[in-house]
Amino acid sequence: MEATTLGIVIKAIIILAVISAVAGFGTYLERKVLAFMQRRLGPMHVGPYGLMQILADGIKLFTKEDIIPQNANKLIFALAPAITAATAFIALSAVPVFPDFTIPSWIPLLGGTFVPSVAADINIGILFVLGMMAAGLYGPLLAGMAQANKWGIIGAARTAIQFLSYEVVTGLSILAPIMIVGSLSLVDFNNYSSEHAWLMFTQPVAFVLFLIGGFAETNRTPFDLLEHEAEVVSGYATEYSGMRWGMFFIGEYANMITVSVLTAVVFMGGYNDMWFLPGWLAILLKIAFVFFLMLWVRASWPHVRPDQLMWLCWKVLMPIAVINVVITGIVIMV
């Protein structure tokens, strides 16, 4: 069935609404999960079990004074958070989040509209998503350089280091699954796993490498160099306050969700029906699992130094990824 403009607009609204809400709720989940792993209670005071903490945080972010430092480059300083938030959502436009569905005809106005699984089904979806997420790192980079603050400059330098380290790993690790599926479209990945075993089991090395690269891409804790509080105050975000800082935050959580969706679609069977679970619930559970994995890793491992990250990516992970690609190629050819 052909996707209409209305269907694509509905899909975009679904993505924006669901992901923004989940990103807000994700902060609460992160605090709670981290707290339970560290034998604390986490937020408890606002609402039952601290559930209204998101609202309190939102009010605080919106009403906080917006400060631009005197010597900062004001235009770039104001632009940087928007880059992070915008690219995170642009990347989501090419990711299939839920299966195709048609709005039931008893709903007035919109009834019978076909809503596609991807807002923009381009043939090279996976490359586009990775490229857009890479462009998102310009946010921290510009923020760090524009704010006339030494901690910010260090944060920006670390952004460049991080970018130069992880990108080769994510690119090479995803190459072996691409060779097996024979397409760059995420919808094809999903259709592949409806007939074959999950790529997580046939490509375990690529799966682990992609997860590690994804953690580095989203600045999750083992590779949380950019705003490592114990070392560089808050890195690139030192001078930011209020909603400008909030946009970095939303962008980071949207990126976490993008990496979760990518992992779920490429390696964990996507939005196919699983046993008795309908497809949309199955992919939500998979996304939630990868998200939980990120929090789990954050609670378990300490930070690494920038030079350790570079050493890890270029001297350990990249050779493994290349060997994986070569072996996959030999197996496909034979």
Binding site: N73, I124, G131, L141, I153, A156, A157, A160, L184
Partner: protein, 187 residues
């Protein structure tokens, strides 16, 4: 209709951004407009239906300009204007104008010749990436491999230039400890 609107939007923005790159004296403005101009150029590839080239443009230039930023970070104060040393502006003007003219002639020449045909037309049913791959590994195999060898040469040269003291660790500098010990001994 949408394609024309998108084309004029992208072309105006690209020209303005690259003008800022050339004219601005602030290194941060110059780099940022360069990066965003490069990203917008990928929009033209998307309009032409060359999705794969568009994404390659995006990924390659995002990475390449990021490396340029790190140089800017090392050499300039990003929040102040750079004082340029302009020794001979007439020469720069003539050379720049000449190369611009040559570029315009090169790209305008096909407009006047009518026998342009796509030697390797796209196949919408298999996708753009496959087409690029087939052409790269059949017709343009030798240029492709030569480019790969050149990149390898550049990489090895870079490692040799940068790696003179690679056996020493910068973070754990033992020689500093030894010098401190020596100073203590002399005291």
């Amino acid at each position: 209709m949408y394609e024309q609107i998108a084309f004029y939007l992208f072309s105006v923005l690209t020209v303005i951004l690259f003008l800022i790159t050339v004219m601005s004296k602030n290194v941060l403005y110059a780099m940022t407009s360069l990066a965003s101009g490069m990203v917008l150029i990928s929009g033209f590839f998307f309009i032409l239906g060359a999705d794969f080239l568009g994404v390659v443009q995006l990924i390659v230039y995002v990475g390449a300009v990021m490396a340029l930023y790190s140089f800017a970070m090392m050499f300039f104060d990003a929040t102040r204007d750079v004082k340029e040393k302009n020794t001979n502006s007439a020469l720069v003007f003539i050379l720049g104008g000449m190369s611009a003219l040559v570029l315009v002639l090169m790209f305008a020449a096909p407009i006047f010749s009518e026998n342009i045909q796509a030697l390797y037309p796209m196949h919408p049913e298999v996708g753009n990436a496959q087409d690029v791959g087939i052409v790269l590994f059949t017709k343009y195999l030798i240029p492709f491999e030569v480019a790969a060898v050149m990149l390898l040469v550049a990489m090895i040269a870079g490692i040799i230039l940068a790696g003179k003291k690679m056996d020493q660790s910068f973070t754990q500098d033992m020689s500093v400890d030894e010098e401190i010990l020596k100073q203590k001994d002399t005291k």
